[in-house]
Subunit: 770 residues, 2 copies
């Protein structure tokens, strides 16, 4: 854990430049708007350590798999988010010296990510090897008003030099994908043109054939006044640039404004891309940078109005949660049901793919409560549309009769991942996908979803479990062999409690859903079972038999569920008794040592108790928490949030607070020493859960919202907003109690500390804390 950035409630601030930390900063300061985004690379050349990254949502490439030893069933390709054309580039020459912060002396340096208004700002004074002093100020943003557009205002002020300077704004599509398996380049050029102040380049991805046109328009001012210029146009392979020579006067700022539009063939006709991009960039440049930035400010203000969480009296915590909400809003807007939420969003290319079980387990709750119902529904439909591929995927592994195994990692429904212990065995993902259906219906009350889409997915998933679970003659019970749970620090174990528990739950919920759908619409139900050849009696009997006879590990002496067979055979040395120098284990220990140790990446028994908390009494949850938490190293970004929620539930507010800080500041403080290649976007939704479900104690039970507020000692007050079935609420929790404001024209009944309160339309209810 580092404390590199300055604490500020609305900004992330870097003061002074530490090149060794540059890749982390590039990740943390990433910008995005759900459609495109990029890492916080410098506009000018930088020869130091950097990870260049520009991304366009939904544009990917199936990179040929790299694997040491091939296993039957591995996918041939890993579909990856691509590094796309670099549109921010502006090369800068002062006289005959090229600006490069890796080679020039940095006198002072300040960079900040303004989360309130949605832009990145940098102000630095540098000295060239020959002694020229230059101040650089740059502001840039990815517009959330027009999600195909970005802009930069880049100001150069020489303070002890007058003479020629050259600015070369460019678009470069000849970029490298750091994550390419065989060092291939994935883009080919379609066309390009460049005039004095305007250019466009259209590129096509190999194999997948996505095309993206990136257009730029350049404006120049000197001493604050617009000036004309004559540029020298540069064309190279997959590159266009315009070299502008300016006679700089010492002390007089030279500002280059670069307007950019990025259009993808996913949303526009391929043959119109370049023409449209040029027209668009023309249109936005007419507005001028200041006006566009003001629109951006207003749009972000509107976002925050619905999304913000306010923590009073604790700026560190406040900064943390705002950073998480900011990045979530930058990553996914829910407007396009072909998109999903990549684990790195627009902050890096690691992990490729776009969709993990993170979406269902961590992101769906966030979007359910903070966005229109259709956003969560789109996330569910994304999986519904890929059901056929999930059935194909299961077939590849020997399953049949319509059993579905959703991929561990995917872009378009095809499995991408290639580690047998994960690809083939981390099958609990199927459970999370079923749980998200349940969660969506529970939250929204939209039971028609089950009839129209949900049940078909549930049956396919339950068919998978019914085949994957086998009968042990030895135990006279059903068992689940050879799985990897969410705790990936165990591989290929038998009877992982979490996976078995969620599998049994899936079977139960499927039977329940069948009942509901039959009752709601027998006709549609009949159509469905015909379509998928569902033999209701026979298959449900099998489901029920498994439900009744499933082995779920339990140690009676300790009163805990057993993470897996043999877990108690391990040496029971707690994390607190490990030397700090051994952490993080994933970097310090060999894999086998991690596997045979008791240490847990994320505690999956606790994940199960979180999902199914109503099935267990508080004492059971406490015993398991007390057992598993001290063995958990939280080396998954998805771990601390669930621990925070359970700690809060168990009244352990101090631990809940510590876990909250860890999840909310995971990237800002580079907790796990791995933010350099991107931020942990999906776990940010977990941070939101830690606040709302943890400290707010929010749940939906029997169609009603309930709260169980608990405030960390460090906080004066906590406020958050949720939407529920058409009603908008603000919940403010202080030492004195909870104040719930209903902004809607309908009244709502909520439970607080298990008592019901009616809150009238457009009014507030004060509830004393217990």
């Amino acid at each position: 854990m580092k404390q590199y950035f300055k604490v500020n409630e609305w900004k992330i601030i870097e003061e002074g430049f530490d090149p060794s930390y540059n890749k982390v900063t590039e990740s943390v300061f990433s910008l995005g708007n759900g459609r495109m985004g990029q890492r916080a690379n410098f506009e000018e050349a930088y020869s130091g350590e950097t990870l260049q990254g520009n991304y366009v949502a939904g544009v990917y490439y199936p990179d040929k798999t790299r694997v040491g030893w091939w296993k039957n069933g591995y996918p041939e390709y890993f579909a990856k988010v691509l590094n796309a054309a670099n549109w921010i580039g502006i090369d800068v020459w002062i006289g005959d010296e090229q600006l490069d912060l890796a080679k020039w002396e940095v006198i002072d340096f300040k960079r900040e990510l303004n989360m309130k208004e949605g832009y990145l700002h940098r102000n630095t004074l540098v000295k060239s090897p020959q002694g020229k002093m230059v101040r650089i100020e740059s502001t840039r943003f990815c517009s959330i008003v027009d999600d195909e557009m970005g802009a930069i205002a880049y100001t150069v002020t020489c303070t002890n030099y007058s003479g020629g300077i050259r600015l070369i704004p460019y678009i470069d599509g000849d970029i490298i994908n750091a994550d390419s398996n065989y060092g291939e380049k994935f883009w080919g050029e379609v066309s390009k043109e460049i005039s004095n102040d305007t250019g466009v380049i259209q590129l096509r991805t190999k194999k997948t054939g996505f095309e993206v046109a990136t257009a730029m328009k350049i404006r120049l001012s000197q001493g604050g006044k617009p000036v004309d210029f004559i540029s020298e146009q540069i064309q190279k392979e997959k590159y266009i640039g315009a070299e502008i020579t300016v006679n700089a006067v010492s002390g007089q700022p030279v500002t280059l404004k670069k307007y950019v539009v990025n259009l993808s063939s996913q949303n526009h006709k391929t043959d119109e891309l370049s023409t449209k991009a040029l027209a668009e960039v023309e249109r936005i440049s007419e507005k001028d940078f200041a006006l566009l930035l003001n629109e951006q400010r207003l749009a972000w203000a509107e976002k925050w109005k619905h999304n913000d969480i306010i923590i009073e009296g604790d700026a560190v915590a406040q900064q943390g949660i705002r950073f998480n909400i900011f990045q979530l809003n930058q990553t996914y807007t829910g407007e396009d049901d072909r998109l999903n939420i990549g684990p790195k969003g627009f902050t890096g290319e690691k992990y490729g793919g776009s969709t993990y079980w993170d979406t269902e387990a961590y992101c769906v709750p966030f979007y359910l409560a903070t966005a229109d119902q259709k956003v969560a529904r789109n996330l569910l439909l994304y999986r519904y549309k890929q059901l056929g591929k999930a059935i194909d995927n299961a077939k590849l592994l020997g399953f049949k009769d319509g059993a579905a195994l959703y991929p561990m990692v995917t872009m378009d429904g095809t499995e991408c991942h290639n580690e047998w212990e994960i690809t083939f065995e981390e099958i609990h993902r199927n459970g999370a996908i079923a749980f998200a259906i349940f969660n969506y219906v529970r939250y929204t009350g939209d039971e028609a979803y089950l009839t129209d889409y949900g049940l078909e997915v549930l049956i396919a998933i339950s068919r998978f479990w019914a085949q994957r679970i086998t009968w042990s003659a030895e135990r006279q019970q059903y068992v689940m062999l050879g799985v990897t749970g969410p705790n990936e620090y165990e591989n290929n174990v038998n009877n992982n409690w979490y996976t078995s528990t969620i599998a049994v739950w899936c079977l139960k919920y499927t039977i329940e859903a069948i009942g509901k759908v039959k009752q709601a619409n027998q006709h549609k139900y009949n159509d469905l079972i015909t379509k998928i050849s569902f033999r209701e009696e026979y298959e449900c009997e099998k489901f029920a038999d498994i439900i009744g006879k499933m082995y779920l590990g339990y140690d009676a002496q300790l009163g805990i569920f057993l993470q897996q067979d043999g877990f108690l055979d391990k040496e029971q040395i707690l994390v607190k008794d490990l030397p700090k120098s051994e952490l993080p284990l994933v970097k310090k220990w060999s894999w086998d040592r991690i596997l045979r140790s008791v240490y847990i990446k994320q505690a999956d028994v606790l994940q199960g108790l979180y999902f199914f908390e109503d099935d267990y009494n508080l004492e059971t949850i406490r015993r398991n928490y007390d057992f598993y938490e001290p063995r958990t190293v939280h080396e998954s970004s998805l771990s601390p949030c669930v621990h925070a929620i359970l700690a809060a539930k168990l009244g352990d507010i101090d631990r809940a607070y510590q876990f909250y800080l860890r999840t909310s500041r995971l990237d800002i403080d580079d907790y796990n020493d791995d933010t350099d290649d991107g931020c942990h976007i999906t776990s940010m939704a977990g941070t939101w859960m830690a606040v709302v479900e943890g400290f707010g104690g929010m749940r939906v039970r029997d169609g009603k919202l309930s709260f169980n507020p608990l405030l960390p000692a460090e906080w004066k007050a906590l406020s958050f907003k949720v939407g529920f079935r058409g009603i908008s609420l603000n919940v403010r929790i202080s030492k004195d109690g909870a104040a719930i404001t209903n902004y809607s024209d309908k009244s709502i009944t909520v439970k607080v500390y298990n008592e019901e309160y009616a809150i009238d339309a457009n009014s507030e209810k004060q509830i004393k804390i217990k």
Copy 2:
């Protein structure tokens, strides 16, 4: 299983050419002499499916590891046997048509590997696209008289064409390694020269800097008479050739003789390589091909005198065992203690590395009984010399205080393999290395080896086990978590019976060896324990504690040892009840399905019962055999031989015979559909074991040889030769009994069917069969 080759007691014969089978034939017909070797590629160009392979022993390259997802502790490089310069190449043009069996019509075709005399012969009649009929006859060998030399006699006879033909003998170092991880080429050129009939090229491996000079000398005859020629010399990158134009006369044979010498910097000064190679090739070419081939015949006759196994009345079985002995003799001669026995020998590049546990578990017994004692000793010393690296390897995985983990795959002592479930977990290899020490001392009586080398290795290995085994508070016993046994169809299991059993045995044998060494030479013992900081009392107490309290799985109801925890939870469907279409599992099933199934690649419980048979009564062995054998798919080449030995021991002669056929004809019949990339050299030693230890029932107990002969119904008689402590015996088993001939000048006492017989010097003893 295929029956592609003709059965012959001394030859492998291919009649007719099946291009789809060509890579298998190339493997089976490989030639070698322990120093160099090659696959049976055609001399002339061949545009069909082929795997080019020429190899020079001990010359390797550390190829950058390719891995999907890096795990801490993986090696960065995989040291690979290299495909070296192609020295057999002779391009042939008949008029303007290039000879290419993939494009020409093959009228008749016969190829044979003469195992008795050690050469490869081909005779084929082909028709060109333009209709020219040409007979090609070629004979080649890798000399076992001079292991740096090979020669080819290549005869072209046009039968309906007179006119120009061109022969281009060449040496090409610009070859491809099919197994290269990133498509790199591993050889660079040092120098080359080519004159009218003589050329040499010297190449250097990248990184490792091995150099190999390959020289050729060409002779030509026409109509059986030597003729002079003037060639056109060709030089390309890493290539030399001599183009010879001959005026061919229809019906008159044109013969090109190509003499080749291959010298490596391992055995010669680098700056003398090319000069020496030229001198050598000059010298051998003066002897002429026929003379050299005759020397080869005589040398092989001498080999067979000591090595041959004669099976009377069953040519299929006879061909099988001779093929195995032939290939073993081609692969490793024991003269160079830097070399070891690669799993593919000189028949392919797959698996890289040169040393697996195969050497200790399967090859040492063969060399103990068929070669000078120093050969097995050299194999042991190879590991002794790498002890330091084995200790480093263990350190990398978190072990300390002199614990050693020998690599799974190695060239020079460094681990090469990179699958966590094997590299880090298939640790039973340590046990096999200890067992080989025991086996060597048991067979030879050379107890001084323990004092000088063996004990140091044993203590380092026992230290590893003492750290790797952990205490289970739950069981109040020691356990071994997270291992992969020889049955690689289970990964990361707990308490694999075989691994735990051999670990406990190691600890016991180490304590025993400490006692012996102390008694034999207290002084040297003191030196050793000082050198390795061995705290005898403390460490031996720990060893003894583990020996006394180790958990070894046993099912009382079935009376069997448990392969691992949870084995009986699996669905117990036997191999015989599997549809044939599902086999081999490794090609038909996804990895997870194999892992959670009951099916066994090679039965490691049975491997343990084979190693430690004296510790178990026959009924125990039978119960385990009866349980595990029907669950074993034998998809490891190392599996059938041990089953054959146990079946013979249990009196199940029919099964023993079936297993024998499978192991002995594994490659000839391409049983597992994987001979195309090379033969299974190390399992060939297992075949020898199946005969001598299985049907011969040979054991060494209390310093004496014992036999328990049993003859398959299909055989009239079986004869084999063994050497034992300076005495040479021939054992002939027939329906009537055993005849043991002592060829030595000393008498020997052996046990047959548990009765002792003294066999005088140079005499034979007849023993009636029981």
